[in-house]
Structure formats: structure tokens, C-alpha cells
Subunit: 224 residues, 2 copies
Amino acid sequence: MKSKNKKTLVIGAGGQIGKILIEQLENKGSSVVALVRSKSKAQKFIDSGIETVVADLEGDFEHAFKGCDRVVFSAGSGGATGYDKTLLIDLWAAKKAVDYALNNNIQHFVMVSGLGVANPDEFVTEIKPYLVAKYFADNYLMESGLVYTILRPGSLINDNGTGLIRTSRPVKFSDLIIPREDVASVINYSLSNDEMKGKIVELFSGAESIETAFKEETIEVNNL
Amino acid sequence: MKSKNKKTLVIGAGGQIGKILIEQLENKGSSVVALVRSKSKAQKFIDSGIETVVADLEGDFEHAFKGCDRVVFSAGSGGATGYDKTLLIDLWAAKKAVDYALNNNIQHFVMVSGLGVANPDEFVTEIKPYLVAKYFADNYLMESGLVYTILRPGSLINDNGTGLIRTSRPVKFSDLIIPREDVASVINYSLSNDEMKGKIVELFSGAESIETAFKEETIEVNNL
């Protein structure tokens, strides 16, 4: 089932995945709202005629949800800031986004999560504090009652997308990667295909088209 | 109803509140296990004949729960470390403690939380990231199915305890304080009085005995 006329709020539109996603949604004529942190980041969207809301995710950003049907949370504090921002953005802003989505009858919430978030103890890694924050953000969404899709991509790379993915983990650690463009494509696919609702999946570069990968994928990863 | 022969695991026994609590429990002949991070912190307890477990809260510490009936989580990463430790200790270790408590049929879990944790957006404060971590730790406990008491003291001071408290907020910001010794006394009281089960309360220095304050206190603060 395809749905094309719904309006999608992209939280973190100024981020690398967010920018690609906005472009993809625009290209197929889907209605979008770009939520960005600063006026400087907004200008490019405004110049392209895209509905844009400038708001600080550390404050109240509920007004951005008005009139939207679907939400993508692809915001992140990024590697350049401290773990205080991980707590305030990756966890607390995500929690507030879920609350706002409930208040505004959002029909589908797509969360960009990450590999390892299902079980922060699984890998011994220096980003474990980040995985802990994302674990609780994902759990809050799962328990919210909202219709959700949670996408957990491997390490993000800037290569062009291939449109070919896999949802089971490759054996080699160095293969736990995926281009940001392909993640954006899976978000896009998730917004348009009801079969993606309720799914929690890991994402890597692979050999199957997105459609085939999800048709064949029946196992759902769930950390509850 | 009093219960005196149950064994209490104190997580964070090397901390300031933990040390006072252990002493109080020992003085009344209650069975305790002190969980501390380092052998150097353990020595004083061992010298006093107190059952002591040395374990890193960033690793697996489930063995400390064996044979215990009740748990107090008063561990904290403290102000001297970064927010990475806030995520790993105040949030993730607390989450693991709840899981271990479930696995080991712990009958009562007392969490030392803090003022402002019910709603991290309430105060504009530089410790907001800490409040966010504690918010999710408290929520995880509340939703776990365990019997809990959540204590949310104001700013902790090192003055001697008076045994006199209040659970409603004083008007003056400077009065949002309480000696650590009084917090330990309320934990101690919580472990011995069934009326404290299921309670989520804020704590400040006041004018009533602990017993009177809780007999009169019927309002429960709940952030769910």
C-alpha cells in the first residue's frame, strides 16, 4: 500500500541523512517539513521552496508537528559534542518528539537508531554511552503506543547509495557499513510501505533491493 | 510492619550516603552486603566484618545480588567525571541493577534519585543531562514490576542529620537541601516500613520526624 499525500516532518533535516531524505521526498512530490536548528541551515531549504521550521531541540519544538502525519527522527548530537548533548538531544529530544507525536496524532514515527543499540553490552566500544542513550530513546518509542519503524544502520559512510542492502549481519566487522544515501532510501521506503510498520531492523550494504530485502525479512529484532 | 532479618545489598556503598547507610544498618543489626568499586574502598568494610563485594558497575555485577532480599541503589558517577559515566553508571548500571533484581527475586528496590528528575524540563539547570539519565533510570524501575521506593532528595549537604524532614517543597530555593545522613535515615526507614513501598517522594530538611512525615504524606509524585 502506498501513501503519497501525507506530510512528513524530518527532525534533523540539516544532518547528512536528513538532507538526502528531504531531497528524495521532494523528488517524488511528497510533502515535507524540514526541522533544522539554525537559520543558516534553513536557508538552503527555504531557497528550494521547502517548508522549514527553525527550532532548538533542547527547547520546545512541538509547533513543528502541526499538520504533519509522519515523523522521521534523524537528529543526533554528533561526534563533535560531549555526552551532555547526547543526553539532551539523542535521548531527551527524542523522548519529547515521541510525546509531541502522541499529542499530534502522528500516524508513523521512523527512528534512525544504530547498530548495537539493541544491546549496548554486546560490543566493547567507546561509543557505548551513545548506545545507552539510543537504547532508552528506542524503548520509549516502542512503549509509546505510536506506530513506529526503528532502523539500526551499521557505520555510516558517504559513498553513493547502491540501493542494495541486507538486514542480517555480515560476518566481517568491516562489512558492518552502509551509505547514508541508502539509509535515506530505506526511511523513504518505510514511510510508503505499511509492511515496515512495527519493524525494528538492522541495515547494511548488501545484494538485494530494498523491496526484496524486506519482503524476505520476517525476523524482527526486538530488545524488550 | 517491621522486617529485620532480610539482607540488603547497598550498591554504591563507597559513596557518602552509602557509607552512612551501611553504618546505620549495621548498628541496628540488619544484614548487609556492601558493593564497592575498588579494593581500597572495600578494606574499611572488610575490617569492620561487613560482607563486601568488589565489582565494577560498568561490568557484570549480578553475583552481588545472590542471597539478598532488598537492594539500595545509591551509586552515582559523581560530579568529577564526564557525562559518559553518567550514561554508563547512573543510567545503564541502574538499568542492569533492576534486571538483576528481577532475576534474583529482590523484594524491594530503593532508588536514590534526585530533585528535578520527575521533569528535567522543570528547572533550567546545568545538571539537566544528569536529570535526564536519572529520569530514564527511575522510569525503568517503575515499569519493571519490582516493588520500589524512589527517593528524590534536594541538594545534598554534609551537615549532621536532624532526623527532621519534609516531603513537600519549601518555598525558598536555598531550602531545597537535606543532609546526607537524613537521606540515609529515610532509606533505612523505607527498608523497614511497608508503607514506603510504591512511593516516589521528594525529600528536604523539615520539621517533622520521618515517621510523622510519611504518615501524613499521602500524595505520590509520579512522572509517568
